[in-house]
């Protein structure tokens, strides 16, 4: 298991987007220190689709937040495109999709998607052009003038993905973006996300606790386990890039899923 981790970190350092070395994060809480992350070594290369899977408290979201400079690590180092997370954030190196759509209810969908562009300070024409393009990318054309609360949950989450794509960062961080949606909508969005990833050739870090979702989407699956939050296995997917939904019944898919499940069990993640 450890070997896989080391192999993963050793490959193609030149095109590394995220590089974590002995990364650790300890939260100081009223009940004493909590080790959210411990000794995480991971390299994510350009164009990869990496899923982070594990039970609650395994630090998968925390790791994503560390990449995004929303949390500061207490041990080890991490670099994003060769920069510190802080510099990367200032350089707007990534788009972040949260668990909920977090659209601003006082803005229309198009002006929500345009929010990061306004903050960056692009010209009105450039904003319009990019809003149109990203809305098209997530199939929301025709809903520009609607308000978020007039849309279904799946459409809201698509709008929030459009917002993260709008400023064209190469790295997309997604924290259980489809966790609150029903399965049919979820399948649909997973399919669309894969298509989008192939079209845009972005690097995607995707946090989930659904095994089928992780296996279906990823080129690599990082299995994590709690107390302390750590990486227990890194699984390379052997599935082809072109993935229809029914690939999930193929023996290859099931084999990878079984390995993910073993990895989760090996981390004693279902104790207590």
């Amino acid at each position: 298991m450890l070997m896989t981790v080391n192999q993963a970190t050793a490959t193609s350092v030149g095109s590394a987007v995220v590089e974590a070395r002995k990364l650790g994060l300890t939260f100081q809480t009223n009940d004493g220190p909590v080790r959210a992350l411990s000794d995480v070594n991971l390299t994510i290369n350009k164009g990869e689709f990496v899923s982070f899977i594990g039970p609650s408290g395994c630090g998968k979201t925390t790791f994503l937040r560390v990449i995004a400079d929303l949390e500061q690590p207490t041990e080890g180092t991490i670099s994003i495109n060769g920069m510190t997370p802080e510099q990367a954030r200032q350089a707007r190196a990534y788009g972040y999709v949260f668990q909920a759509a977090a659209l601003f209810p006082w803005r229309t969908i198009e002006s929500n998607v345009g929010l990061p562009l306004e903050i960056i300070g692009l010209s009105k024409a450039e904003q319009q052009e990019r809003i149109k393009r990203t809305m098209d990318l997530v199939n929301l054309t025709g809903f520009e003038k609607k308000y978020p609360w007039q849309l279904s949950g799946g459409m809201q989450q698509r709008a929030s993905i459009a917002r993260a794509l709008a400023f064209d960062a190469d790295l997309l961080l997604m924290d259980e973006p489809f966790g609150a949606l029903d399965e049919i909508v979820r399948d649909h969005l997973n399919e669309q996300l894969l298509r989008l990833w192939r079209q845009t050739n972005k690097t995607i870090c995707f946090v989930t606790h659904s095994i089928p979702e992780a296996v279906y989407l990823s080129t690599r699956i990082v299995v994590m386990s709690p107390r302390p939050g750590r990486v227990t296995d890194v699984i390379e997917s052997t599935l082809p890039t072109e993935r229809p939904l029914d690939i999930r019944e193929s023996p290859e898919f099931l084999a990878i899923a079984a390995r993910v499940r073993d990895g989760l069990r090996a981390g004693h993640s279902y104790e207590d």
Binding site: L70, Q90, Y96, Q99, A100, A102, W106, I119, W149
Partner: protein, 377 residues
Amino acid sequence: MMNSKPSWQVLLALVLCTIAMATMPMLASEATAPMSNGTTTLVIGLIALSGVASFAMFSGLASAAVLFVGAHGAAWLLISGISGNEGTARMPYFLLLAAAWLLAWRCVAVLSAIRPVSKQVRTFLRLLIPAIFGAWILIIWEAVTRGAGVPFILLPPPSAIAARIGNSLPILLADVRQTIFKAVLFGYIVGCASGFIVAILADRVPFLRRGLLPIGNMVSALPIIGVAPIMVIWFGFEWQSKAAVVIIMTFFPMLVNTVAGLTASGHMERDLMRTYASNYWQTLFKLRLPATAPFIFNALKINSTLALIGAIVAEFFGTPIVGMGFRISTEIGRMNVDMVWAEIAVAALAGSVFYGVVALIERATTFWHPSVRGGRA
């Protein structure tokens, strides 16, 4: 169909009519212009007929219309019959008044149950129902004060107050100009604006937040009665001292609400702004202030009534010979109660309009808030 079954209001009204008939006459024998038998019969007939007819109607609207005509026709006859005979009313008069009121109650109940399809009718009903409600407060006030001959000084009938308003329009206008257009408006704008600005400062500068807010809470507990005379000493008899009282009264609700509102935006939204490397002011204007808007409007609405109270009370403590508070305090001394009531009515009207305007702006601005659009969050 739902309205064709007898309602307890109408049944009770019919019972009251029967008792009234048994205890006639309506007016005591010393009445100078007793009501004719015709009028009496007409009142009872109107109430009884419209009550019974309301059962027979198949649509709610028709039933309400019949009740409306019956209740208000009877009330009109009663009030016009008592004129010239103030203070001579006997029990049947009050029983019939109560019966008419019950019909109006039933009318409002029927109207409230109607679910019209068209938007215009819905708006019309939304205005009509409180209008009938308000009208009956005035009708009962008028009929009881005149029927029972309540001393003018205790409670003048609304008709006398209305007449006083009509006769004293120039004085009332001058008072409104002095109190509302100078003291209230100036104090309200300055008080709310400074409360808002200090809230932003307190948000930006931590020591202000820790130091100012507890002191602010203490100052907001200061009794207005104690502050007003001091403001008069500081700022003189003119409207400026009243504006100062209004500023003190409106400053803290705005400060406290805005500070609370600034923390109202969610963690996820703030993280989102952080991922865009948004600076303090961008986050403030694009996220936190819009999220604060419902709180700000709350303060604006509270302050719209507080400002009026503050200015009027402050005028009790020294003022030039104009102003609503001045007029109330001097006219009560001269036993001109109708003038006091006229000022109260004008103040109530001005306060409602003020509040209404703020509420309208709120609806237009925070259209997205679940409480306004009536949806889920």
